[in-house]
């Protein structure tokens, strides 16, 4: 494979070609993923999601800059940004503040930005994102920021790819949006209140804390003689405990305020994942999902090649006329009978 070796050596053009190939899910793409697989499993995948207007793109931008120019004593990381917009499946306009981003990060060979054009279905988008992330991982990007807009099932499915998920809020976005976001809070590892210099930041933080307490019951509330009681201080968690209480951080991304603290919280979450064994568990569950979806695809392709298009259409005819039920059709198709 002529793409793979230069890609592994750091060639950006080969990387861009490999990304296009895996996005297209063509033969080359499959071969590339196959050959790159042995080099994957090292990157820290960081999901960043939140409603429009929260300033996610600026935040991702600033995080990338911070990771490129860390405080003295820390090594700079190579950073990939994958910007996914599942809310606009038809127009394919997955731009997400690219122009601002370009101006800011352009010319740095340690940064690579990829916008994902939306797919016909959500499953397609999540698969393509997973493939793109694998390519970046193999290409040696230690940090991969996966940015999605919104707060629906789409974002949840994409968040499953991440080791660490940031949910971004901003003061004064209105009650409707708060209500939508109640579900996504439960996938947050770190909560960020961006635009924290705006009025209303206190009440946003209060609301988030209230929702968090519902989602993650505090460990220092316990039952004593059948009554709920509050411990005088949170008990020290046992070592390697899998419990993680999402911190709430305030940032003003456009001015860089709070970014070092956020980067520290991300590193802290990584340490937590590794110590608790959760890192390995998430990797395994992701690999299992990938294996199963590849299996399904292969099984279907193999089966489909055993019957003709005319046969398949004739089954559809009978379904449409209600002469067969889908279950009967399956039994007949799979047992080789002419339905």
């Amino acid at each position: 494979m002529e793409l793979v070796d230069p890609l592994l050596a750091g060639d950006r053009l080969s990387l861009a070609r490999a990304l296009s190939a895996v996005e297209n899910e063509d033969e080359t793409g499959r071969a590339v993923l196959n050959q790159l697989f042995a080099h994957t499993g090292r990157a820290h995948r960081i999901g960043v999601t939140g409603a429009p207007g929260t300033g996610k793109s600026s935040l991702v931008n600033q995080l990338a800059r911070h990771f490129r120019q860390p405080p003295a004593g820390e090594a700079p990381h190579r950073v990939a940004i994958v910007a996914v917009d599942p809310s606009s499946p038809f127009t394919g306009g997955a731009i997400l503040g690219d122009r601002i981003r370009m101006r800011d990060l352009a010319g740095d060979p340690g940064v690579f930005i990829r916008s994902m054009a939306a797919r016909g279905s959500l499953g397609g988008l999540a698969n393509a994102t997973a493939s793109v992330v694998q390519v970046f991982d193999a290409a040696g990007f230690e940090l991969i920021l996966i940015e999605t807009v919104g707060a629906g099932q789409a974002e949840v499915d994409i968040a499953r790819l991440a080791h660490t998920t940031l949910v971004v809020e901003a003061p004064g976005l209105g009650d409707d949006i708060q209500a939508i976001k109640a579900g996504i809070l439960e996938i947050a590892d770190i909560l960020v209140i961006n635009k924290a210099d705006r009025p209303g930041v206190e009440s946003t933080e209060r609301a988030l804390r209230g929702m968090l307490d519902l989602a993650h019951p505090m460990p220092h509330v316990f039952r004593h003689h059948g009554r709920l009681e509050m411990a005088p201080a949170p008990p020290t968690p046992p070592p390697n405990q899998a419990f993680w209480m999402p911190p709430i951080l305030r940032t003003v991304a456009t001015e860089g305020v709070g970014i070092p603290e956020l980067a520290e919280a991300i590193a802290g979450h990584r340490t937590h994942l590794e110590k608790s064994g959760e890192w390995a568990r998430r990797e395994r569950s992701l690999l299992q999902t990938e294996l199963e979806s590849l299996l399904l695809e292969t099984l279907f392709t193999r089966w489909r090649s055993t019957i003709s298009e005319a046969q398949f259409q004739s089954v559809l005819d009978k379904l449409q006329d209600r002469r067969l039920s889908p279950h009967q059709a399956i039994q007949d198709l799979l047992n080789g009978r002419q339905p």
Copy 2:
């Protein structure tokens, strides 16, 4: 099957039980769907989607009332309402204004309301919704209103179930929400501006019309000697033409304003679908999707029963250690070799 006969005879308790069974996707559910299939294919499935705050629930409510008490000379229809909330996958709180709805429509045996609890994945939710809709169809509900909240890929997937999709807007919801909704406009068969007594209705309509023109190029703009020209009047469309320009209607659902006109537009769209052959085409494509997803499930279950859990876990071990790539694992697993 003890549920099916009373269900077909109109028994509500059997209907409720059948809905739970198909939602649970258990043995009973499969058997029910299998036996009901011959009775499906008659209902008009109407999708209603829009952002929170547009008043979708009241609109669905009022439409249901209208279909139950149509103008003199028209027969009342049996109406099912399926309320789906894909934005909150964890809390399972798919309520969508149920309390208001209950008060309004309670006690009418020609109306049945079902709220869909969210699933672990979007595919799961879309499948469960499809099954519930089939049960209502078989049970003789001529109109099935499928209500979803939001404007993401989730709503698009669920809208694929509908013959006619209403996208609901309201004045003054802010630019962010307008931006999210650009994609979903392209699946709209009818656009509704609800809360049309609010200020800003003119500019909302202008914005929608602008987006519509982009999504559906007007048929009366044509090329003449290489230049774009506007026809003096829209040419009469040829009979059976598949073109449908989504109308924009104004309603004030809480006061019943605009509801008869909306019901008329829905009936008009049905006529258009039938005359253009699009109705049959949509039915067939839905059946094909269903058949394929059932095939996948069956193929996977059959294959999975041929290998032991220990074998499967050992493959995962090798993947996690990068000793096998997913593609190699598949080849070995499917060809019966011990990987």
